[in-house]
Symmetry: none
Subunit: 221 residues, 4 copies
């Protein structure tokens, strides 16, 4: 009888809580977790909703479809970084080598070591099944990222810091270790403990060293 009244009032979450402002963020957060953990098609929208503490219907109130939800996750976690980066790089005053170091460090801090890295892994994993997602990612992430790196390299070449490199390939040379790291961390590394890269920062460091060494126009004695 009186049991109801003895229930801890803090646990008594009201059934219908109105928090329009907070919903999208909570859903996006839950979705990021699940997409990264299980992949796109293996993630169930019910689960996302449940983890965000709402009903399935509510999810569709904020995101018209599963794909749109995913796109929003990408925007929220990756795409939104480019404006800032663009500004930072336009204002950057150091050498191009410093710039490249900074770029990779910043990428690592904001994406590489965060859950967001799982998104790239996911996209690469499921690109073939969801061309729409692949295209979207291509437009919203790959292209701007590419442009960013390209600008740095061009700057270095123009200033004489870097050798005149084939730009298209040089860009991928910078991308490769980042992509590798994201893939590795979120696949092999996440499974076989033994496969994990034990010090990714240091690995990145070394990559940049080797890269800059290889790209430099003159070598220190």
């Amino acid at each position: 009888m009186s049991t109801a009244s003895t229930i801890n009032p803090q646990e008594q979450t009201p059934k219908r809580e109105r928090r329009k402002e907070a919903r999208p963020g909570e859903l996006l957060d839950a979705a990021l977790d699940l997409f990264v953990e299980k992949g796109f098609s293996a993630t169930r929208v019910d689960e996302v909703a449940a983890r965000a503490g709402v009903s399935k219907g509510t999810l569709f109130l904020y995101f018209p479809s599963k794909v749109d939800l995913f796109k929003a996750v990408v925007r929220e976690n990756i795409a939104h970084l480019f404006p800032t980066w663009n500004e930072e790089f336009n204002a950057f005053e150091g050498t191009s080598a410093e710039m490249l170091r900074y770029a990779m460090a910043s990428w690592w801090a904001r994406i590489g070591k965060t859950r967001a890295s799982g998104i790239t892994k996911l996209v690469m994993s499921e690109a073939q099944n969801f061309p729409e997602i692949a295209d979207f990612y291509q437009q919203e992430v790959i292209k701007p990222g590419n442009a960013l790196i390209r600008k740095i390299i061009e700057r270095g070449i123009q200033s004489g810091e870097f050798r005149p490199l084939a730009l298209d390939h040089a860009v991928y040379t910078v991308f490769a270790p980042m992509i590798f790291l994201m893939m590795w961390k979120n696949s092999m590394g996440a499974c076989a403990a033994s496969a994990d890269i034990n010090d990714p920062e240091q690995f990145l460091q070394m990559q940049v060293d080797v890269l800059l060494y290889g790209m430099a126009s003159t070598k220190p004695t």
Copy 2:
């Protein structure tokens, strides 16, 4: 019992008639194609069966489930890679730089540019969903590959060709462009035409150049 051995095997298999013993292989082959092309969950067992020229029911006669089929595909396609390489490298006589160049060229010829690259992509993509496959891959492919590259680098360091590098990371430095290439080719590159790397061999070339340049103990003047 002895019937099988008394039949002339070449005459026994008319072109269009399928032999029972060949079935699993044909299924595995079809499955490899489709898994690589479309990923695990997007591959329909009907399609696999159809491509192998048998009925859906037959597939389940040989593989108790789709997951088992997947595991069999991966196992079937990654065992045979390393013996040859080990021999080759043990017998190699040039410089360590040449050896590294040769290793990557050989990898590209035998795996990178073939369908086999799709397997790595596949494994990395689905690693989280099939931890045991990830482990398996780790043991059968990653470790031997790692050891191979490690040997080359150690050889270079010992001979004074390379700087004394942190081996663990140096190995991944060599891996990164290969992994990157396999992933890219089989995901983004396969979707958005614009995203394709137009000349992978040249890209690899450049990667090795930069790498060797960065790893060399003394720089050419």
Copy 3:
């Protein structure tokens, strides 16, 4: 309490501000449009509310359910049709043929070509799903309409203008083209452009001609 009555009602309702009392009417009006346009099940209550300029919740304040809304729409739109006609016909002085022509022309002008024809279409379409509406319509519209036509024909027969026809069927003979027109206009005609009747007035004309010709007791030479 008495505040309401002391307020000048005309000044009290600025153009853009909706009066409470008008709400049900506005909802009914919006619902009529949409039900006629899209049918019962394809009409979304959100849309009705939106078109009426209120929120979905408000709609449910006035009508306990979508079905009730539908019933109210039908009731609202079919009550007021017959009194005028009855008067007109009681006072009519021409021949019965003229009377029939006038009846159909009048029906076309006031119902057939207006939105109201959609209601008949609606009712006939959904009759099975809402038997009580069908009954209601039967009482309020079919019966009076039937009686009206019947009176005209009886008058014609009594005056010797028309042959002695089986009244029950003769009435439906007059109804048929009207029903046909309402159905056609609001279904096939509204979809496939090619299916539209390009000149309904002329069609009706021809129908009456044929009808009167067929019903006439003596034929002109």
Copy 4:
């Protein structure tokens, strides 16, 4: 314990019965019933399957979608009649009046008085919601039917039996009572008993009489 064995073996319908040949027909039959009874969107595919004694999945084995199921129902019950009719009319030897009488009688026997009449009612009711269905019906039923009637009237005009009528409208003049009858039977008539047309054949008879009388070029004295 022994209850299971005491069950009437005739009621023991095996769970998985293989009757590929019979399935489509059984499904079509069940679908016709339900579509006519409840309309297109209110009919649930599960129900259709259940009534046909199969599972939902089986239905989709034979008909790729609900719309396709409906189209098949239309073809099975209406569209398939046109080839026969065309032949019959091409071979017809009597007067055009006889031909028209025969056409309507035949229509009544094969469609009008059967469940198939409900299909037309259904299509007209839901045309707006399902343009695809409306178009389909327009092509497969309306057009051929139109052509058929048109041919009869043209024949009558050419032979001098009928007055030179505006063909487009004359055709609808013939259609109107048929459409009316199908609508009425399946909406008002199916609900309010009082609304039913008590002798449809006689009604049709009268319609044709009036029609032919009105269309005839010379009138009997």
